[in-house]
Amino acid sequence: MRKLHPLGLVTFLVLILVNLPFLVIIPSSFTAAGYLSFPPEGFSWQWYTMILDRPEFIESFWFSVKLATITAVLATLVGTLAAMALHKYKFRGSGIVNGLLLSPLTVPSLIIGIAALLFFTRIGIAGTFTGLLLAHILISIPYVVRLVLTGLSTFDYTLEKAGYMLGASPLRVFWDITLPLLRPAIVSGMIFSFLTSFDNVTVSLFLVAPDTTTLPLAIFTYMQETLDPLVASISAVVILLSLVFIVLLEKVYGLDRLFGLNSQSH
């Protein structure tokens, strides 16, 4: 055995720190007490059954799922088309288009949220599902474009050509050749869009209607007023769900390949 390297020790401590919030939320959610305590007192499922008595959390959960699903599908569609144009055709202004598509990443979410609210109020879609959806698609597009462009960088166009030469229609070529080859990139784009939308607070904050809110916002609002183990149990459920998606993402694409492109989720 080689002895523990000081770098290894620091790394270990940082990893614990970064994951500490989750490590404490799970045990806290099973407390039998009526308040957050250390160590959690007793064991009970009461804070999980309590979720069922809070329709606002259940409703906002399903609202978030719906929003994130539609966002994922549409952002992936729109972003994939753009990425394909960027990669396949070397057209004039492609640099500008590329820059524009990635620009929502470099502008703070806060500004995107405020700008969208002001504009949507003017055109009458503030507080509507459409407005919120459009904003979520906007912030997801850069991820999809980056992921699909990376996928395309190893794409072999001779396979498409072969398809055409064998008499396949453009649609058939797209469906049977292009799409399957790009599947990992496209699926990762979709998962990433889903998570981006599902977890977003800063943009949604300005755009939700009072009666329809997303789950993170519902938790955010609740947390500003009360701090009890209910937040812990809801958070535990979300953590579990997110983990499923993260493992999926890791399997489909590899998390390390994703890094460098996720710079705007707060």
Binding site: L7, L20, L23, L77, A85, T202, L205, F206, I219
Partner: protein, 280 residues
């Protein structure tokens, strides 16, 4: 060759979203920020810092908190990046996963976890009280310390990955050569590893600084009502006070000062680097 049509068809949907949800709204926001109470053009909203020390104080607090966050992520993140660069493929994968995965889970939930840890009745305080090291709970939350802890947690992954990327790119034979020539490990670190990782450090510090300046959720949840930063003030102007022009101007002032500081910083580093080149 006719390639105009496919290009237009393929890019149109995304360009429409971008134009309608991003570019036009930003332009409108910019125009609105120059409006005074009488809806006439005015620079009033932008002269705040000169007129009202209240806003200057908030801006300074925002910068201060962001600088502390940069420092904390750098000090904690650099060793992690170095460890990753030296680790075996499998270990590197595990560390990457553990540093990135929390990043994909809602920041609200992570902040809640920190409240459970740091609060007056949080795990740390309860523990320290029980073993008798403290008589009164430490104030770890709802002050600038709490905000810095939250932001460090939120953004450390960017710092680690930015530095790790530049460390991966260093040719390992360089340190080997230095070692053969008799350089100590400290010397190798200071003259080879550190200078060559500078691009990563610049990228990481710049990114974390920009992200911290505009962070809203963490300061709102972990700073409480007494530690307000620019994004929180801008939010309040828009959503509570309904002074949209002022809120828009505050947001642009924040963005402008972030860009200005980041530009100044990279200028400073660049000149310093050239100096080194000239000296050698």
């Amino acid at each position: 060759m006719n390639k105009k049509l496919p290009v237009i068809l393929l890019t149109a949907p995304s360009m429409i979203v971008l134009l309608g949800v991003f570019i036009l709204p930003m332009l409108m926001m910019l125009l609105l920020s120059f409006q005074n109470d009488a809806q006439a053009f005015s620079l009033e909203n932008y002269l705040l810092f000169v007129k009202d020390p209240f806003y200057a104080e908030i801006m300074w607090r925002t910068i201060r908190v962001s600088l502390w966050t940069v420092l904390c992520t750098l000090v904690l993140g650099f060793p992690v990046a170095m460890y990753m660069a030296q680790a075996s493929g499998k270990m590197r994968g595990i560390v990457t996963m553990l540093i990135l995965a929390p990043h994909l889970i809602s920041v609200v939930i992570r902040n809640f976890g920190w409240v459970v840890v740091l609060g007056d009745k949080g795990w740390i305080n309860e523990l320290l009280l029980k073993i008798g090291w403290i008589q009164e709970p430490l104030r770890l939350l709802y002050n600038e310390l709490g905000v810095v802890i939250g932001l460090t947690d939120a953004f450390i992954a960017y710092m680690v990955l930015a530095i790790a990327t530049s460390l991966y790119a260093i040719d390992p034979s360089l340190s080997k050569a230095a070692s053969i020539l008799g350089a100590s490990r400290t010397r190798i670190f200071l003259t080879v590893t550190l200078p060559l990782s500078l691009p990563g450090i610049i990228a990481g510090t710049t990114l974390v600084f920009s992200l911290s300046m505009s962070a809203f959720v963490t300061p709102a949840l972990m700073g409480g009502t007494s530690v307000k930063v620019m994004p929180v003030i801008a939010y309040e102007q828009i959503m509570s006070t309904l002074n949209w022009p002022l809120g828009a101007a505050l947001a642009f002032l924040l963005l402008g000062s972030t860009i200005l500081l980041v530009t100044l910083y990279s200028r400073l580093i660049e000149t310093k680097r050239y100096k080194e080149v000239f000296a050698s």
